[in-house]
Symmetry: C2
Subunit: 338 residues, 2 copies
């Protein structure tokens, strides 16, 4: 387990319930280092100390696969992934950019791909996007004779993902401050762009033109954040929407609107897709438990990542995600672990 946050804690329980042997845990936060991962995850002692020295953990424990959850963007995590791969470990990361890094960080992706091949390891990005935004949607698009446009909308509650995420969402700014921040900062690529590139790949279409808009989400009444214990007054920015538009050489336009903000009571994560073409198509996942499904997909992907060929293998190249009714190791191709 590389990274010990909320996601790592939940995945720790899910893995132990599917008989995955956890051999090591890495985190830098001094308040976590030295603690037992099981106790950190509130499932009781499992004899796996959280350690700060990643290289030491990887070298001594030689894991078959690393579950990685630290930052979102490839430039931030390249060094960590490199370290894993150099020690021969497969990696499944919930870094959002890793879903399909070829569109936004092609050079780093190529470097990691070559390194992974050299060491016989696989790097894959999974998480909530894998089934809900990619595989369910591409399966739906497989029922189309002609696609004119694809529009997806997802919302998620930034309040459920910890203080670090909230700080990155411009929460608490005025609209003026938000515009200033947006104008002055060099924004990292959006995750929607990676998703749309993956969908283009899955539908055999060729991206031609990209556009990204950012739009603030503003509190319509006082809005309380449980995770940081602060109430933001009406009119304050409580998050934002990234709206990505991809045009393709073949014609169809893909739009994805992803809104992350602090939810009010009664709001829930959504995932909805509207396709225009022959025929018109629709998909809605109702109340989406994104928090949990980020972890379930991360964990359910373990055998696929072990079984996959070496390299940076994006989930559009993997078999569709499957339910794991048996202990996780029973899905691993016999003889593939050395």
């Amino acid at each position: 387990m590389y990274g010990a946050g909320a996601m790592g804690a939940l995945a720790t329980r899910l893995m132990t319930e599917k008989d995955v042997e956890i051999v090591g845990a890495i985190a830098r936060n001094p308040s976590k280092v030295g603690r037992d991962l099981g106790e950190f995850a509130e499932i009781g002692y499992i004899g796996v100390p959280i350690e700060a020295d990643a290289e030491h953990v990887l070298a001594t424990q030689r894991p078959d696969v690393v579950l990685h959850a630290t930052q979102s963007f490839l430039p931030e995590i390249q060094e960590q992934l490199t370290l894993c791969v150099r020690h021969g470990a497969n990696v499944v990361t919930i870094s959002e950019e890793s879903l399909y890094p070829w569109s936004s960080s092609p050079a780093i992706a190529a470097e990691l791909d070559a390194l992974a091949k050299q060491h016989g390891a696989t790097i894959t990005g999974s998480g909530h996007q894998d089934s809900f935004w990619l595989h369910q949607v591409s399966a739906l698009l497989g029922t189309a004779h002609r696609i004119d446009s694809v529009y997806g909308k997802a919302t998620w509650n930034a309040d459920e993902y910890g203080a670090e995420i909230i700080q990155s969402k411009h929460v608490g700014e005025t609209l003026e401050q938000f515009q200033e921040s947006i104008n002055s900062e060099s924004r990292p690529p959006t995750f929607g762009g990676n998703l749309l590139a993956a969908l283009a790949q899955a539908t055999g279409l060729t991206p031609k033109e990209w556009k990204t808009e950012i739009s603030p989400v503003v509190a319509e009444e006082d809005r309380h954040s449980n995770s940081i214990g602060t109430t933001f007054s009406k009119g304050t920015v409580i998050g934002y929407s990234d709206i990505d538009v991809m045009r393709t050489v073949e014609g169809p336009t893909f739009t994805f609107e992803m809104s992350g903000y602090i939810f009010g009571s009664g709001e829930s994560d959504m995932n909805q897709w509207v396709i225009k073409g022959e025929p018109d198509l629709f998909l809605d996942n109702g109340v989406v438990p994104s928090y949990t499904t980020t972890c379930t997909q991360w964990v359910n992907r373990i055998p696929d990542v072990i079984n996959a060929p070496a390299g940076f293998v994006t989930p559009d190249q993997l078999p569709p995600l499957r339910y794991r009714s048996m202990p996780m190791h029973s899905y691993v191709t016999p003889g593939i672990l050395t």
Copy 2:
């Protein structure tokens, strides 16, 4: 094209729009024999006469793949599929039982499987079920850590599929006649049973116990059938629901309720799945264009069926259905057609 009904007509247009070369058409109905398939499909003359002698068409035209749409059950179509396979043709059929015949007609499926292998041909069942009931649902189930129960509900408008289908749905009977028919007739296996068996296969669960209930759908007010031009009075049977329940050795229960009846105005086909477990999951496809998607999936499966290994290969064993942006032949593995 084996069978020239409403589905065959639509698929004919879809295929020509994806540059599929149609080489022959088979139907027995004397009012269709001799007509040009393109004219029958209302897309203009294409130079393909509808012929009654299936063997002659298969022997002279040697098709790479047969799109088959005659009856629903394997015992009814075994002879037709056998004929195709003996002539070395791959077959993709919308016979509902063929989605997963191993649960209901294992002996016939095994016979066809052996014959197909002997002749290097593939038989696959596709159609509406492929993505909407199987691949979208199994992709959703792939986000579960624990499944307790799966409940699916689909409705379809029997009025859209022609007179033969309506006659098989007990339409026009009184409730008493319906009960008598049900009690006296030996009912064929339900399609829901095949679907649940396919879902068990896709989730790695082991079916233990099966139960099927049939429940009439009764007109709550006068209900008009456009396809047969008859109005059925309030209280008349206008179709029925098949409710299939599958229990598994591992615990989870799967239920599928499929209701086919004559819709009233404002009603539309639906496809909705509710999963209880960790976490609870949900899927809804809104207004489902089942009529069109039966054909689009049938046609979009063509290259997968050609590319697949020989035998009776059910869609859970195929790659997920994909959108075809290019001419259909560009998805065929080079060199696989001899």
